[in-house]
Structure formats: C-alpha cells, structure tokens
C-alpha cells in the first residue's frame, strides 16, 4: 500500500517535471533538437506500470502540455495518446529488450510521431518547422537510457524503502 502511494507520487512528479523541462529555454540553435520529454517519461511508465499509466494519462498530460505551451489545443494530446497506444501494444516485447534495443524502438516511435506532427501542422496551416526538428527523435532516443535508468533507480529506492 505504502509502496503504491510512493510509486504514484514518483510517477506524477516525473510527468510534471517533464512538462517543465519542455519550457526550459535553450540556445536558439539547439531549439529544434529539444527532446520531447513527456513522451519519454510516459513510455517508461507504460512499460513499467501499465495499470497506472494508460491512454487517459497520456491524453491529460498532452492537454496540460498544450495549455502550458499555448499551442494548438489537442495536438500533443493526440500524439501522446498514439505513442502510448503503440508502446502498450508492443509492451510485452519492449520490456525485455536490452536498453540499446529499447532506444531504437523509442527512436521509431518518435520518428513516427514527427511524421504525425508534420501532418497536423500541415492540416492546421501552421508554419512549417525547420528541417532540423527531424533530428529531435535521435536526441530523444539517445536520452532514453538515462531516463530509463534514472526512473528505474527511483523506483528501486521506493521498493527498498518499503521493505
């Protein structure tokens, strides 16, 4: 019971933190490379705690991100829901991949998302993104092992705390 509470807090805190990370200023040259933090954190929680994080959490997180960024409402919500759905679907395999292979899978998920993002912007008539944004999934995939290990360590600590 205790552990469940603790884990839930870690989960929600990490999601909130990922939203704040999205707002963090970067030098203009690096802007297009900004990794999509909420997606990474959500994928981790889908893999490790599927009972807690599902499509609903993804939708609400995306909506919060949209409101915070003042962008088109529903854009990130839609993309996060799709990412989480795919991650759920392949969860059984993804979970037992070594971390490097997981990174590759995350790269695919994020590339698919980039395509979707491009489509949504095209439909909404928003200005096109610089070409460099297509490299953002690479950054996200490169960061995946660190996100994974960090969150795993936090969760492990919660486990020892409980015992």
């Amino acid at each position: 019971m205790m552990r469940n509470d603790w884990q839930r807090w870690i989960c929600y805190l990490s999601l909130a933190l990922s939203l704040l990370l999205m707002l963090l200023p970067l030098p203009v040259a690096l802007l297009p490379l900004r990794p999509w933090w909420p997606a990474l954190v959500l994928i981790y929680w889908v893999l490790e705690a599927p009972d807690r994080v599902g499509l609903g959490t993804a939708f609400i997180t995306g909506l919060a991100a949209d409101v915070l960024a003042g962008a088109l409402l529903g854009d990130q919500a839609l993309r996060l829901v799709i990412i989480v759905f795919l991650a759920q679907r392949f969860r059984a395999r993804l979970r037992f991949f070594p971390v490097v292979q997981q990174s590759a899978a995350v790269l695919l998920l994020l590339l698919n998302d980039s395509l979707l993002r491009w489509l949504i912007r095209a439909f909404a008539g928003l200005p096109m993104l610089p070409l460099l944004t297509w490299a953002a999934p690479l950054v996200g995939a490169a960061l995946w092992p660190f996100v994974f290990l960090l969150l795993d360590a936090l969760r492990a600590r919660s486990r020892t705390r409980e015992s």
Partner: protein
C-alpha cells in the same frame, strides 16, 4: 500480477477495448484541435487555468534566472572594469544626446504650440521583465512578469532601448504574453524614414527577419533604409525605429517588390521591456463617423457638445493578422 495478465494475451494483440478507447481519445483530440483552430478557444481556456499556468511558467523560468545570477557573481573583475568603462562612455554619449534631444523637444514643443496642437508627447510606460521560457519556439512570443493586475492590457506596444519589440496579446492576472514583431501573425505598419514610403512589415516565422511583401515595383526603398513605425492603425505609436532594410528583390510574379528587414529591437537579448501606455491621442486616421446624413442641427435641437465631438477611438485589432 502483471505477468499473469501478460500470459493470457498474445505478444501483439491489444484488447479490442484498447483500440476502442484509442479511437475515442483520438476523436476527442481532433475535435479539440478543430474547435481551437476555428474558435480561438485557447485564450479563454488559458485564462481559466491561469492559476496553474503562471506558477509553472515562473518555476520553469527559475533555472535561467539562477544561471544569470551565477554568471553575474562569477564575472571577473577585469571584465567588470572594462564593462564599467564602456558603460561610462556610453552614458556620456547618451547624456550628450539627451541634451541635444531636450533642445529638440523644446523646439518641437514650441512649434507644436504654434500649430495649436495638443501636447502629444505624454508617453507613459511600465517596465516589465522577461520570464525566460520558450512557449512554442516557432511562434515568437515572450512571457512578461507583469499582468492585468499591474495594469497591462491587451494591445499595448512594447519597446526596448533600440526599437519596437511587439505587442501584448494576452494579459493574465500576473503575467502577459508578448507577440514579437517577428511572429508569423504579427503585422507592423511602417514608414521609410528616408523616402516616406508606407508599408506593412510582417513577421516571417522563420528566422529573425521581417518581410515587406507586395511593395509597388517603383517604391523608393533601398537596402539600408531605416523603417519607423508609422502609427497607422493606432496600435503602435508613430516614430519608433522598427527595422532596417537588408534586402530587396522582385517577387515571383515580377510585378511587386519584396523586401526583408532586420528588426531594430534586440529581440533575443532583451531582458527588460518597456510597455507603453496607450497614447493620449491615437495617431492615424480617425475612425469613420457612423451616422452619416444631414447634421443633427438640421433635424432638431442637438444637445450642446455632441456635434463635432471626437470620434470614438479605434479599437480594432489593426496590428494583428490571423
């Protein structure tokens, strides 16, 4: 517990309920997007959630502020000294200029009085700090730390020491969102300081340049010309430096010129901005008078003071383009 559930499903198949829920969420998201895109919902939603949004913005802006403070503390003595010297020189120069300006202002005042014009140099402003966060980086917007509670209103123009920066497009209780002149939906009426040609400078979304499309092919605009705000439209006060022309080329059809200009304001480096209070007298053409027809005096006895009263102030969003 999770493993046992795993065993019951195959490696790929998701439960049909999952797909159904996916479809539901997707529909919801698409509906939201369409509503937002067409009705411009977001400001209202954001006003409702301002209580949560503002602290998040401030929280996200904190690391940048700490970094800035740290840099200031760690700055070397010699660099401080040289900076000090440079600032002193600049101050001297500025003082000289101010002295000259004052003479000009005095002269201008006298001329204005001669012309029986109202004293229109009453320009008031309010300093605001930029909260250093990126909203959507592809729309050029800044978050300021002054909001409606401090009297910031939508439509106020913002300037820095070098020129016009943009206008306030959203005033939350404690913060405000500033749309820079380089934002793709920004339009700024300008006038060429050398030749007097009028034009509209649009933000170009990509890069830090303004674009002036659809200039007449014989327009007298040259590379290096400085553009001032013209004050037409009544949103930006007249006479502020706006941009410098960097390139001119015929557009694709060959029947118009297309110029690009670099904004005069230091959009990327400004830490503080000055929000101008609305001018006492809106510049530009007066709003068209509504009641056409015979003057009221011909119809009947009009109440004194109504005939010839100043036309209502123009409040249309002259400076925005959606």
């Amino acid at each position: 517990m999770a493993l046992s559930r795993e065993g019951s499903t195959s490696l790929f198949a998701a439960s049909p309920g999952g797909t159904l829920r996916l479809a539901g969420y997707l529909l919801l998201a698409v509906a939201l997007m369409m509503l937002d895109h067409h009705n411009d919902w977001l400001p209202r939603v954001r006003n409702a959630t301002a209580l949560a949004v503002e602290p998040a913005w401030r929280l996200a802006g904190m690391p940048a502020r700490w970094l800035g403070d740290l840099r200031e503390t760690l700055a070397e003595k010699s660099s401080l000294r040289s900076e000090n010297r440079k600032l002193r020189d600049a101050l001297l120069l500025a003082n000289v200029r101010i002295a000259r300006m004052q003479a000009l202002v005095r002269q201008n005042d006298q001329l204005k009085r001669l012309l029986d014009a109202a004293d229109s140099l009453r320009m008031q402003g309010q300093l605001a700090r930029v909260i250093d966060i990126d909203l959507d980086p592809y729309r050029r917007r800044l978050v300021l730390d002054r909001g409606a509670r401090e009297g910031v209103r939508v439509g106020q123009a913002a300037v820095d020491a070098h020129g016009v920066m943009g206008q306030v497009i959203e005033a939350l209780p404690n913060t405000a969102v500033l749309m820079l002149v380089t934002d793709p939906s920004s339009a700024l009426p300008v006038i060429d300081a050398r030749s007097g040609v009028r034009a509209v400078a649009y933000g170009s979304g990509s890069g830090d340049l303004l674009s002036l499309p659809d200039l007449p092919i014989n327009a007298d605009i040259k590379v290096g010309d400085s553009l001032l705000t013209s004050g037409l439209g009544g949103r930006f006060p007249a006479g502020f430096p706006a941009a410098t022309v960097v390139s001119i080329a015929p557009d694709r059809s060959g029947s118009y010129l297309r110029a690009e200009a670099r904004p005069a304001a230091r959009l990327n480096r400004s830490d503080q901005v000055l929000l101008l209070r609305d001018l006492a007298e809106p510049m530009g053409p007066p709003a068209p008078v509504r009641d056409a027809g015979p003057p009221a005096s011909l119809i009947g006895p009009a109440p004194a003071g109504q005939v010839g009263a100043a036309p209502p102030r123009k409040t249309a969003h002259a400076g925005t383009r959606r």
